[in-house]
């Protein structure tokens, strides 16, 4: 199968604001259910083990017309929740029987309360992820939260999930994470072969279809790019950070690469690779999942940073790991976690002599000229003198 066919397949799923793929899956069995989750991290293993199709709710992008959504939010609140409300109020999410709201920020937190009021018949759970510095306490707390969700969804499904179910799901998502790591690895080595637009579409599709299907397509894609190698271009290598919740419009990702910046690391759809290591299949699976979260070393703006040096270190580490030339801080307008973190992250990066630029977007930004121009100037300066600083 050719690269184009895989990408077109993914694009179709990405552009389908009615979640047809998920609906088709649900239609195949009477006892099938789907559970949505908002950014950033949700324990998809638990949903899967309880027989639910995990459906990532990442907003409506730049194709959704906002009619009701703006009635719920003031102009100074980010765009994501209004498009999510728009999706829900227009019936596009009516196939979900549960929705999880992770503690990404206060906007998503409050959205969980709005959901309770708007959709009293749907299972709504706000997931207050542990923020403490003590892994022991965090693990116990998170284990409790996970058990709670597992029990509730079990009741909803009329069939409690067994440890075996959960272990199977963990194994499946270990495999998914490994595949995503592989894709990122490949892009990092040969960015010209894995345009970020394509990688992104593939991962977006993976958010709304069964993990098994995603794995199959991902394998096809890897085979295809090996079969159709492309010519490297005289571009610079860039880490994009700050886009972990409200997703950038596809046009923005394209504009950055079109302007001469290969994206070699990013935090788009961060949830799908939030856990950096295999979750253990030994012992109590819920405990194992909780452990892997609490002891996970992923540094992100949505978690408290216990290490006083952590904020300064994280960007230099990521740049080194990705062999990048510079950083683009791309944050959604009014995104508290990203924008409050940015000065600390940027200071750390610039102290390490890494060139940086920053701009704000929203999921429905219509014009990319100024992004292209800034990214372009950035890659010019890297090409001409290896960086602005």
């Amino acid at each position: 199968m050719s690269r184009a066919t895989v990408v077109d397949w993914a694009r179709e799923i990405y552009e389908d604001l009615h979640f047809g793929a998920a609906r088709r899956w649900l239609a195949e069995g009477p006892d099938r259910r789907a559970a949505g989750y908002l950014p950033v991290y949700a324990p998809r293993e638990i949903l899967h083990a309880c027989g639910f199709l995990p459906v990532g709710i990442h907003g409506g992008g730049d194709r959704l017309e906002i009619i009701r959504g703006d009635a719920f939010y003031q102009s100074y609140i980010c765009h994501l929740p209004r498009s999510v409300i728009e999706l829900a109020q227009s019936g596009r999410l009516d196939m979900l029987s549960a929705v999880l709201f992770p503690s990404t920020c206060d906007v998503i937190r409050n959205l969980s309360g709005m959901w309770k009021l708007l959709y009293p018949d749907i299972y709504v759970r706000y997931l207050d992820v542990p923020q403490g510095a003590d892994p022991a306490a965090s693990t116990d707390f998170w284990e409790g939260e996970l058990r709670r969700v597992m029990t509730d969804l079990g009741d909803l499904a009329g069939r409690p999930a067994t440890d075996q179910d959960l272990r199977r799901s963990i194994a499946l998502y270990n495999e998914t994470r490994a595949m995503i790591r592989m894709l990122y690895q490949t892009r990092q080595e040969r960015p010209w072969d894995v345009p970020s637009e394509e990688l992104y579409l593939l991962l977006r599709a993976g958010e709304v279809i069964p993990a098994e299907d995603f794995l199959a397509k991902a394998r096809e894609y890897l085979a295809a790019i090996a079969a159709e190698p492309r010519r490297p271009r005289d571009n610079s290598r860039i880490v994009v950070t700050g886009a972990f919740c409200e997703q950038p419009p596809l046009g923005l990702i394209k504009s950055i690469e079109r302007a001469g910046c290969y994206i070699v690391d990013d935090d788009f759809l961060l949830g799908n690779r939030f856990l950096q290591h295999e979750v253990s299949l030994e012992g109590d699976p819920v405990r194992a999942l909780a452990e892997s979260f609490a002891r996970n070393d992923r540094r992100t703006s949505v978690l408290y940073e216990p290490d006083p040096r952590g904020k300064k270190r994280v960007m230099p580490e990521r740049v080194a790991a990705a062999r990048a030339d510079g950083i683009i801080f791309a944050a959604p307008s009014f995104c508290d976690p990203a924008l409050l973190d940015q000065p600390m992250l940027r200071l750390g990066a610039e102290a390490a002599g890494i060139p940086c630029i920053a701009f704000k977007y929203s999921e429905n930004s219509g014009q990319f000229q100024q992004f292209r121009e800034q990214a372009g100037t950035f890659s010019d300066s890297i090409k001409l003198w290896g960086g602005t600083s």
Binding site: A71, G132, A133, A137, G144, R148, L340
Partner: protein, 426 residues
């Protein structure tokens, strides 16, 4: 304000605050440890039980706003790379720090020995202290207060908080102050806290009378000052609230209204309930827009961010650690949207309000995200139309006086017109 505000309580509060800042300025000699923490979920009794002095950054920020210092501080922080989109309390505080850390009282603020990050109902607090840590390079202890996502304090969450207090917070305070944890001292503090809380609640409830002897928003932000900041669980605090209660009860007995920027407001045309923090940079002008029209606020949610005492909670010396967990969990910003709507609807009914107003501030997503839905839900529940205005905490650029006045005028005229209509209908 007018002479009437030379009330004893006013004088006391001024002395208390001045005294506190003076004491903070002298810590280099007195060697008193300093702990920074936030208003919602502040563990001031615990801090005091270690003989440490609390500093509350939001209070400094809002006072900078009232003293017209915030614009420069915010500009300073934005020059340092902070986005115009984010919380102006944070930027105001960082700007103040970068400009020499002179408190709104004109005194120098000491470095913290510990940042006690009790992040209760506001995500930004976490970032705020991460940012302060970069500046002060001092220890931080994080106390994670789980949000009441399902509208109640879940037992596991309470246990989780108690565990953090015992295993993280108390040891951190011991390290920072070099003193041992003394539960009896804590009990004493909590006993004092509960006394002040009783008197405060009496004051808040006085607004159920007609005319209301207090303004439940503009006036009450002064009244809650001591109990939300450094003085809960202190003898000064107890004395202040006793004095305040006496004054308010006298005013009530005499059938007097509250003192406003235009003097006593005895003729009260509209009784309002208010949701959301006030704007501090134009606090007086904002208040005047109400008092000019004869509007008095009878209850507000903002005055509950430091504790929802009027619904019965009291600090309980018998269960010192547990009561702190209960206190934090119950702070207004930690309640979910349905609970906040219940609370406002209840205020409107219990305080017989003619209307309600949401002041939606740009800075604070914890408050603002969802307020438009609260507006409609409360309208549905109470059958009373609300007013919705937008401003900010301490960024003067976001206070559009003309727009706000226009909306308020229209709102009050709307209440009049409906009254007239009802009168006709009857």
């Amino acid at each position: 304000m007018k002479e009437a505000l030379k009330d004893r309580s006013m004088v006391l509060q001024k002395e208390m605050i001045a005294g506190h800042f003076a004491r903070l300025e002298r810590v280099s000699e007195t060697r008193e440890p300093v702990v920074y923490t936030f208003v919602p979920g502040n563990l001031v009794e615990l801090i005091r039980s270690f003989d440490a002095l609390p500093v509350l950054p939001e209070i400094n920020a809002l006072q900078s706003g009232m003293r017209k210092l915030s614009a420069d501080f915010i500009a300073e922080a934005e020059r340092a790379g902070h986005s115009e989109d984010v919380c102006t309390y944070v930027k105001c505080d960082l700007g103040m720090l970068k400009s020499g850390n002179i408190s709104p009282a004109g005194t120098r603020l000491p470095k913290p020995d510990l940042l006690l990050l009790s992040y209760t109902g506001c995500y930004t607090f976490m970032k705020w202290f991460e940012l302060l840590r970069e500046e002060y390079e001092c220890p931080v202890v994080l106390f994670h207060v789980p949000y009441q996502g399902d509208g109640k304090l879940e037992p596991e969450h309470r246990a989780y908080m108690i565990r953090q207090l015992r295993e993280q917070v108390i040891p951190a305070l011991e390290r920072a102050t070099g003193r041992k944890y003394d539960e009896d001292k804590l009990r004493e503090r909590l006993t004092l806290a509960a006394q002040a809380e009783d008197d405060l609640v009496a004051v808040l409830h006085s607004a159920k009378r007609r005319p209301s002897p207090i303004d439940g928003y503009f006036g009450t932000v002064y009244y809650v000052g001591p109990i939300f900041s450094a003085f809960r669980g202190t003898p000064e605090g107890v004395e202040y609230y006793r004095a305040l209660r006496e004054e308010i009860e006298e005013r009530a007995a005499a059938g007097l209204g509250p003192i406003t920027p235009d003097g006593p407001l005895n003729e009260q045309k509209y009784r309002l309930v208010v949701e959301g923090p006030p704007n501090w940079t134009h606090f007086r002008d904002f208040w005047k827009m109400f008092s000019d029209e004869g509007a008095v606020v009878v209850a507000s949610t903002y005055t509950k961010v430091g504790g929802t005492y009027d619904f019965g909670f009291r600090h309980n010396p018998a269960d010192p650690i547990g009561t702190m967990a209960d206190y934090c969990s119950g702070c207004y910003t930690n309640l979910n949207l349905p609970s906040r709507i219940d609370m406002l609807a209840r205020y409107i009914q219990e305080y017989e309000a003619d209307g309600f107003l949401i002041n939606s501030v740009k800075s604070c997503n914890s408050f603002s995200a969802g307020q438009l839905m609260m507006l409609r839900e409360i309208e549905k529940r109470t059958g009373i139309a609300g007013a919705f205005i937008e401003s900010d905490l301490v960024d003067p650029r976001y206070f559009g006086a003309a727009n706000i006045k226009n909306r308020l005028e229209s709102y009050f005229q709307m209440i009049d017109a409906r009254r007239a209509g009802e009168a006709v209908a009857v």
